[in-house]
């Protein structure tokens, strides 16, 4: 349980690092053959939550729930239709290009697929180094040292810097993606299905690594995932999304012990039990 405690901050910074208010994102309405617009289903509809420093807020839901869109809108990888996002009291959606670029050093993202998120022709040392140089954190030998440190911190070797992505396994590539994100010393990381594509043994190792890094650096995570059993291991609080809306947000322990919303109950009852002796009663939710 100690992993889940929000780190106490004895400095004067506000507890809330990320604040999302009434975030809404509608994909542009498509028109039919005769020019009449289809009503676009909002991908994200009036979503509001805060993330405290040092905690892991999990955003869970099924495909089309809007969890990924929410994560990307916070980083302004997509421009939301309306709403407000603040990061350490800065209004993210109002920022011009240059201040946004500066802020991006403090907010990073790790994607699901380690096979497509790395440039196959770029040596991984350069991949990790790019961010360090773009944000002018270091150059020359000092940048090399930072790259080596970042690789070692995720369990790889400094000498791996000269290798190409195909020389690594799926789990190692995900470690490289984490090293790239952490090399610029962010405070906040969006983990978008970051362990979903990994085999269970590797998945357990990468989850443990993410929790270790969080403890060491006081990182704040937005952990986007569909696997509720994985989420339970890492989350401080959990927000359940369904069709663009948050239907339930609670402390992880509370949500897993006594889910309030029927959809949360249906989701939990659908998780298969890896034990042939246990037959779970399924709860079906009709979506009303």
């Amino acid at each position: 349980m100690t992993d889940r405690q929000v780190q106490s901050t004895n400095d004067q910074r506000p507890i809330t690092l990320v604040s999302v208010n009434h975030l809404t994102h509608q994909f542009p309405a498509r028109r039919s053959l005769f020019g009449t617009p289809h009503t676009a289903a909002p991908a994200v509809n009036d979503v509001t939550f805060d993330i405290a420093r040092g905690e892991t807020l999990a955003l869970v839901g099924e495909s089309g729930s809007g969890k990924t869109t929410t994560g990307r809108a916070i980083l302004r990888l997509i421009e939301p239709t309306s709403g407000r996002v603040t990061f350490d009291s800065t209004d993210v959606l109002a920022l011009d290009r240059e201040p946004l670029r500066k802020l991006r050093r403090r907010m990073q993202i790790v994607f699901q697929d380690p096979h497509t998120s790395l440039d196959p022709r770029m040596r991984i040392g350069r991949t990790v180094r790019e961010g360090i140089e773009a944000h002018q954190l270091a150059e020359g030998a000092e940048a090399d040292a930072r790259v080596a440190r970042a690789l070692e911190e995720v369990g790889l070797h400094a000498g791996d810097a000269t290798k190409l992505p195909h020389e690594f396994s799926g789990g190692q590539r995900q470690r490289i993606a984490i090293a790239r994100a952490l090399a610029v010393e962010p405070e906040f990381v969006v983990l978008d299905e970051a362990v979903s594509a990994l085999d269970v043994l590797v998945q357990a190792q990468v989850l443990a690594l993410l929790m270790q890094l969080q403890r060491d650096r006081g990182l704040t995570y937005l952990f986007i995932a569909h696997n509720l059993a994985v989420v339970e291991q890492i989350a401080t609080r959990v927000a359940v999304m369904y069709f663009g809306r948050i239907v339930e947000l609670a402390d992880a322990a509370t949500l897993y012990a006594s889910p309030q919303h029927d959809y949360t109950r249906a989701l939990l009852s659908a998780v298969p039990v890896p034990d042939p002796r246990v037959k779970k009663k399924r709860i079906v939710w009709d979506g009303k």
């Binding site: 099924e62 495909s63 799926g170 085999d199 269970v200 043994l201 998945q203 357990a204 569909h226 696997n227 509720l228 059993a229 994985v230 339970e232 291991q233 897993y256 012990a257 249906a266 989701l267 939990l268 009852s269 659908a270 998780v271 298969p272 039990v273 890896p274 034990d275 042939p276 002796r277 246990v278 779970k280 399924r282 939710w285």
Partner: protein
């Protein structure tokens, strides 16, 4: 209802599959042997690259480019030596006696053909002469797999259906000829968890109703526990353990199986 049968439905002996690549030859399946009886539900379980999908493809005799079966490999199905059949005879077995359900229903279906016609085509390929009767049987099969309003849905195209419904169409295609063996390769891995639960329930119902044998290829021990009575654990192209699920989950003999099971994330409430 499983009648005790003297001879196994499927006998696999010393099966090896190698792939020729740029970096030489890789052995994906390394001399494995196992039996399956009629009506049995068996899981072939392991992590990516363990060789489980290569086994499935070998059983269907659909081999990727560069893939080769080892010289002493034998597959006997219902008394027939599958590896001795010519392609025409094998085509008759495929779909009629052994059918396969794939992971990605979107990729396995023809995007420009009505789903009813794709299910009906299975019957037409295997001797049904009347298109009308094949269509009616297809609609009945779609209805049986839990597709609401099947007579209307049969006229739709794959993109008009949800992922879960497309998987039901693939199951209808696989079961159309009442095969004795269905090979399901990660049939729920691409689906949302609530849809996965529905599809697993459907497969269990259909298995009990038809008495077909199911070989489930998966990496997910949760799915194994839901559906199978026996599990074969693979690693590096070899079988580590082949036992009833209760033994695999509660008294695994192989340390790797135990390690895998410990790593499977599970809800605290389910422990």
């Amino acid at each position: 209802m499983t009648a005790a049968t003297p001879a196994p439905l499927l006998q696999v002996r010393d099966l090896s599959v190698t792939y020729a690549g740029d970096a030489g030859t890789a052995r994906a399946v390394d001399g494995i042997s196992f039996d399956m009886h009629a009506g049995e539900t068996v899981a072939l379980v392991g992590e990516s690259g363990c060789g489980k999908t290569s086994v499935a493809f070998a059983l269907m005799r659909v081999m990727a480019a560069g893939a080769r079966l080892g010289g002493s490999s034998r597959i006997t199905f219902d008394g027939t030596d599958l590896l001795a059949l010519d392609e025409r005879a094998m085509r008759d077995i495929r779909g009629r006696k052994i059918a396969m359900i794939f992971q990605e229903p979107a990729a396995a279906l023809n995007p420009v053909m009505k789903v009813g016609a794709q299910v009906a085509e299975v019957a037409l390929l295997h001797g049904e002469k009347s298109k009308r009767i094949a269509w009616d049987r297809a609609v009945a099969m779609l209805d049986r797999t839990g597709i609401d309003d099947a007579p209307r849905r049969a006229h739709q195209y794959p993109h008009e259906l949800s992922g879960g419904m497309r998987q039901r169409v693939l199951i209808a295609m696989a079961l159309m000829m009442r095969p004795a063996l269905v090979i399901a390769d990660e049939p729920t891995s691409a689906l949302d968890v609530t849809v996965q639960a529905q599809i697993l329930d459907l497969l269990r119902d259909l298995q009990q109703e038809t008495g077909m044998a199911v070989l489930l290829i998966t990496h997910d021990f949760g799915v194994v526990a839901e559906l199978c009575s026996r599990a074969i654990v693979m690693r590096g192209g070899k079988i580590l353990e082949d036992a009833p699920v209760d033994q695999i989950f509660h008294a695994p003999k192989d340390p790797y199986t135990a390690e895998l099971l410990r790593a499977v994330p599970r809800l605290t409430a389910d422990r």
